[in-house]
């Protein structure tokens, strides 16, 4: 292994510019003649818009334009869409309601845009926005997914009676029922997977600029997938033809899924920029982000697991109501279906699984993919069932898991996924050793002496990453293919640019992708630059989410590198005057096998361009190759997280005192970056389990609309992590990469809750397990204990 090649903990190349404040985020950019836009947002969760009086606003200083949903409709700007079609049990298509970028007749959640003001300065735009008078007829609202389908619930969209978007299912219901009938033990759980607000460090932003000379538009935008944004905005919203719209995603400070989607704000900026013929800039404020960025999770589930007398799992069934909020966001429909139910087999051999999912509209912010997207929800269901089942049957939870692990690969689950490689025992064993599970009883006694309860919880999770084989997702309803593209451009001086369709917003691609190239071509990592995030520079690509950039994005680069090497060998054969078949490429040098004739990589690159040694008819000059890589399977990262907590019984405060993570991510390119991804993921999962408390009141007001009430995880909520890996290579891609971006967030909530319930001796604790909630649960335990005495 070289110091900068595959497997080396290379420091992140991009950090120099970030740490020295030289990053270029959307908000750092200023276009000549730029105006500012402010969104007038509905203060009501559900209200008919009777009339909008913009006259006072139009007369305010600096105002360039005040625009409403009526103007948008008059200009025939299309609706925002959800790009994954789900079919209900009865064969009917999902009920996708129109989603105008500015509400025209009815506002459907607090924060729904109802008008915009474009002005010379941000302050002027804000001042004028306060003068837009909207006459609302306030309607009753529904926020709780479990109540959305009730007859008495207010109807949000005409196309969706009972606020039901789809009633979907997966699996063999009859076989599952039969399996439950033969069960020795059944574990039942009611689970709420709490709604989360993503909160990337950089708020969303957009600048749109119209070039009247070419009738084209440019959008600088905080997006994880600039080409997808361009496609949707062109083909569906109809703002401009694809070739007349350039989307640039400059440095982006975190996304976690929330920047995948195509939102009203960027569409409105583009539309307004052409209307006022000036650049239009919008930068979300943090408070605005709480009601403007898609939220995550929000499932209500009843789940049951059937066991035989030996603790072997016979079947699992789950009924989930998924809250998709007021509109269907870009990929929302896929999250509680094909990204959720397909993972309900966990790491286990479960002969039969049946899952029903009702997706509902409510008067809340739209819900879509958030770090893990469906897989944390699935892991939570499975890992809670297994843990509680073990306790009920008085089997050691690690042992119960071991008895049920999938041990032979490939393994076809009853819910579509075919696991191709893994060693679940290996990660469990290693994690148990690192976590010193043997010493737990002693630690528990020590805690008890200090008046504290100690608990230990496992989560042996699996996820499907490397999203995704295009044909497979197409057959499941995806409106796009999920391959990735790459172009490797070798310059005449031997340096390399890699153009990737992935987009980095914290993942460190500029380093890891360069490592792969450096390793393969034997050139210094400094001589490699990674280009991404601009539809005018980079070929069409699908972007970054679903832990796909390594497994799919790097695989595309490897494919392009194969082609570069093949071409370079041809050039070398001319240069070294040898047969092409005799050329070997080693350590950055082309050699004639069995001789001492060599040509350095740089010499070959130069000769490819000067083309003096071969005829252009025989061999095309240049050294630049592209590829589109379509995976043949998902990848299946898996592992074991063990969480240990201490509970202060007097206050209900939970302290996470130890964390062990052993993950199998397949081939690791940069262990330092991988560890960082795991750290961040655990922090988000601990946030979900202990802290993040999105709360709507019954009127649909977001009670946790700022950091004064919404609890983000902080460093002191977390212990130092023990993070290690095991390795089974993913057979479906050239380097054997599985992906690591979401594992932490997927594994951790179940580990935390399993640890807390172990400590408390009650299963009745919902996420987030805040001090007040834990204290209340302890009071209940004490009362029932007293009643029993």
């Amino acid at each position: 292994m070289s110091a900068t090649g595959i497997g080396a903990p290379v420091r992140r190349k991009e950090d120099y510019r970030f740490i020295t404040g030289k990053g270029q985020y959307t908000d750092d950019l200023t276009r000549p003649g730029q105006t500012y836009i402010t969104f007038v947002r509905s203060p009501h969760a559900h209200a008919r818009i009777r009339r909008i009086d913009a006259s006072a606003a139009k007369g305010m200083p600096g105002v360039v334009a005040v625009l409403t949903g009526a103007d948008l409709a008059a200009d025939k700007v299309g609706s925002l869409i959800c790009g994954w079609a789900i079919t209900s049990k009865d064969g009917s298509p999902m009920k996708m309601a129109p989603h105008p970028a500015i509400a025209n007749t009815k506002a459907n959640h607090v924060g729904d845009p109802v008008a915009v003001v474009v002005a010379e300065t941000q302050a002027q735009a804000k001042d004028a926005a306060e003068k837009v008078v909207v006459d609302y007829e306030v309607l009753p609202a529904v926020v709780d997914p479990a109540k959305a389908q009730a007859k008495s619930a207010p109807q949000i969209h005409e196309v969706a009676p009972g606020n039901t978007i789809y009633e979907w299912h997966l699996g063999d219901q009859k076989a599952v029922e039969a399996a439950f009938k033969g069960a020795k033990h059944v574990t039942r759980l009611d689970i709420v997977n709490n709604r989360l607000v993503p909160n990337a460090m950089e708020p969303r932003a957009a600048i749109a600029e119209y070039d009247a000379g070419n009738d084209s538009l440019t959008l600088w935008n905080t997006t994880q997938n600039p080409h997808v944004a361009r496609l949707v905005i062109s083909a569906f919203v109809g703002i401009a033809p694809e070739h007349k719209l350039r989307v640039i995603a400059p440095d982006v400070g975190g996304g976690f899924g929330s920047k995948i989607f195509i939102y009203p704000e960027e569409v409105v900026c583009l539309w307004a920029a052409r209307k006022v013929n000036r650049p239009v800039k919008w930068v979300s404020e943090r408070t605005e982000a709480f009601v403007a960025d898609a939220h995550g999770r929000d499932h209500v589930t009843h789940a049951e697991m059937a066991f035989d007398g030996e603790g072997k799992i016979l079947a699992l069934r789950a009924k989930t109501i998924a809250n998709l909020g007021a509109y269907m966001s870009t990929f929302s429909s896929s999250v509680p279906t094909y990204l959720y139910a397909t993972l309900l087999s966990g790491q286990y051999e479960i002969p039969q699984i049946y899952c029903e999912v009702d997706a509902v509209y409510t008067n809340t912010v739209p819900v879509d993919a958030y770090r893990g997207a469906g897989r944390p929800e699935a892991t939570f269901v499975v890992e809670r069932l297994v843990e509680v089942g073990a306790r009920e049957m008085q089997i050691d939870p690690a042992d119960l898991r071991r008895r049920n692990f999938v041990k032979k690969f490939p393994h076809q689950t009853p819910v579509i996924m075919a696991y191709d490689a893994g060693d679940y025992n290996a990660s469990l064993k290693k994690a148990m050793e690192l976590a010193d599970v043997k010493g737990f009883a002693k630690r528990k006694r020590e805690s008890a002496r200090a008046g504290k309860l100690r608990g230990l919880g496992y989560s042996t999770y699996i996820e499907a990453c490397g999203i995704a084989p295009s044909q497979a997702v197409g057959s499941l309803g995806a409106g796009v293919g999920l391959w990735e593209s790459a172009e490797v451009r070798v310059n005449p001086t031997g340096s390399v640019e890699v153009l990737t369709g992935c987009h980095q917003h914290g993942q460190g691609h500029e380093t890891t992708f360069a490592q792969v190239v450096s390793d393969r071509l034997g050139i210094p990592i400094e001589n490699v630059s990674v280009v991404h995030g601009d539809t005018d520079k980079v070929q069409f690509g699908m972007g970054t989410y679903g832990s796909r950039s390594g497994a799919v994005g790097i695989s595309a680069i490897v494919k392009a590198l194969d082609k570069v090497e093949a071409k370079a060998k041809k050039v070398a054969s001319h240069l070294l005057e040898a047969a092409e078949a005799d050329i070997v490429f080693e350590n950055g040098q082309f050699k004639v096998a069995g001789t001492d004739k060599v040509a350095a990589f740089g010499d070959v690159a130069l000769n490819a361009y000067i083309a003096h040694k071969f005829s252009g008819q025989e061999l095309e000059p240049g050294l630049k190759e592209g590829s589109f890589y379509d995976p043949t399977n998902f990848t299946f990262p898996a592992g074991c997280h063990i969480c240990e907590v201490e509970v202060d019984t007097e206050t209900g405060q939970v302290e996470v005192v130890a964390w062990t993570a052993v993950d199998d991510f397949g081939k690791v390119i940069n262990p330092m970056i991988v560890e960082g991804q795991v750290h961040g993921g655990i922090a988000q999962g601990v946030g979900q389990a202990l802290l993040e408390n999105t709360t709507y009141d019954t009127d649909g007001q977001l009670v946790t609309g700022s950091y004064m009430d919404y609890t983000m995880p902080r460093a002191d909520n977390l212990p130092s992590f023990r993070v290690e890996t095991t390795e089974t290579l993913a057979p479906s891609n050239p380097l054997g990469i599985k992906g690591c971006g979401e594992a932490g967030a997927i594994a951790s909530p179940a580990a935390v809750i399993n640890a807390i319930t172990d400590a408390l001796g009650t299963e009745e604790i919902a996420m987030p397990a805040t001090p007040a909630a834990v204290w209340a649960a302890l009071q209940k335990v004490n009362q029932s204990r007293k009643a029993a005495e």
Partner: protein, 265 residues
């Protein structure tokens, strides 16, 4: 933020005059409460009078049996002052638990108590120690200074100049943080003075800081956590929100009081 006029005061009297004369004016100290509120357009003073360049408002001094701290002294200065750490370590510790480093380096004692946020920390120390607030006009006992939610006894043109804290025999502050804001969900300051014992609670009360006479009585008999065992306060009149019910807060007052007594030693 709405537009406003910024004034840099150079002397106390001038600041007081401006405060009296300029329409809709407010003192600007560390700005850690005022500026975020203005940014969110929840406050819109027409005039801000900055005390940052007024001499004599900063500093920490031990005067006989009292620790006197200037109104413009930052939380960080109080937290790290050897004088405070020596005389009233509980006060230094309280200041070290306010917000984050940025807030502590800007936020001031005067600003905190003038604002009288029901979840802020300093009111518990002032009431718990029986401190005296010294203003441009008079001296106000802490018990009379905090009059309600974000309300104080300050008159419109009155400026806090310093606070005098009598040095207690023993004291301790226990803070149970609101998980989100990290302000006090419940904070209890306990002090044993030669004349009296005080137990002051912040965070829990719907109208701000309050004392707990029942706890003070019990501790007078014996200053020990044991004296408070089984004692609690009624939940009526306490805050109730998504972070904790009134019952939970009432319970925490007992827990934090016992822990504070134990810590005071």
């Amino acid at each position: 933020m709405y537009a406003f006029t910024y004034h840099r005061a150079t002397g106390l009297r001038q600041a007081g005059n401006m405060l009296g004369k300029l329409e809709d004016s407010k003192i600007l100290a560390g700005g850690q409460t005022l500026l975020p509120t203005m940014k969110q357009r929840l406050a819109s003073p027409a005039n801000l009078i900055d005390l940052g360049k007024v001499d004599g408002l900063k500093g920490i001094e031990l005067k006989g049996r009292s620790l006197v701290i200037g109104a413009m002294t930052t939380h960080s200065e109080v937290a790290t002052s050897p004088v405070v750490q020596q005389a009233i370590p509980a006060l230094a510790e309280l200041a070290s638990m306010i917000g984050d480093p940025a807030v502590r380096h800007m936020g001031t004692l005067g600003g905190s108590i003038a604002n009288n946020d029901p979840n802020s920390d300093y009111p518990a120390a002032l009431v718990g120690l029986g401190a005296t607030v010294i203003t441009t006009k008079r001296r106000i006992e802490a018990d009379a200074f905090f009059t309600g939610l974000f309300e104080t006894a300050l008159e419109a043109d009155e400026i806090i100049t310093k606070v005098s804290f009598p040095v207690p025999k023993k004291a301790a502050y226990m803070k149970f943080r609101n998980p989100a804001s990290r302000f006090a969900l419940v904070g209890v300051f306990v002090a044993k003075r030669s004349s009296e014992i005080r137990v002051a609670v912040t965070g829990a009360g719907a109208s701000g800081v309050f004392r707990v006479p029942a706890f003070e009585e019990a501790l007078k008999k014996r200053f020990s956590p044991k004296s408070l065992e089984g004692l609690s306060i009624p939940a009526t009149g306490l805050n109730s929100d998504i972070h904790g019910s009134a019952e939970y807060r009432a319970h925490l007052v007992g827990v934090m009081a016992r822990r504070a007594v134990a810590k005071a030693g």
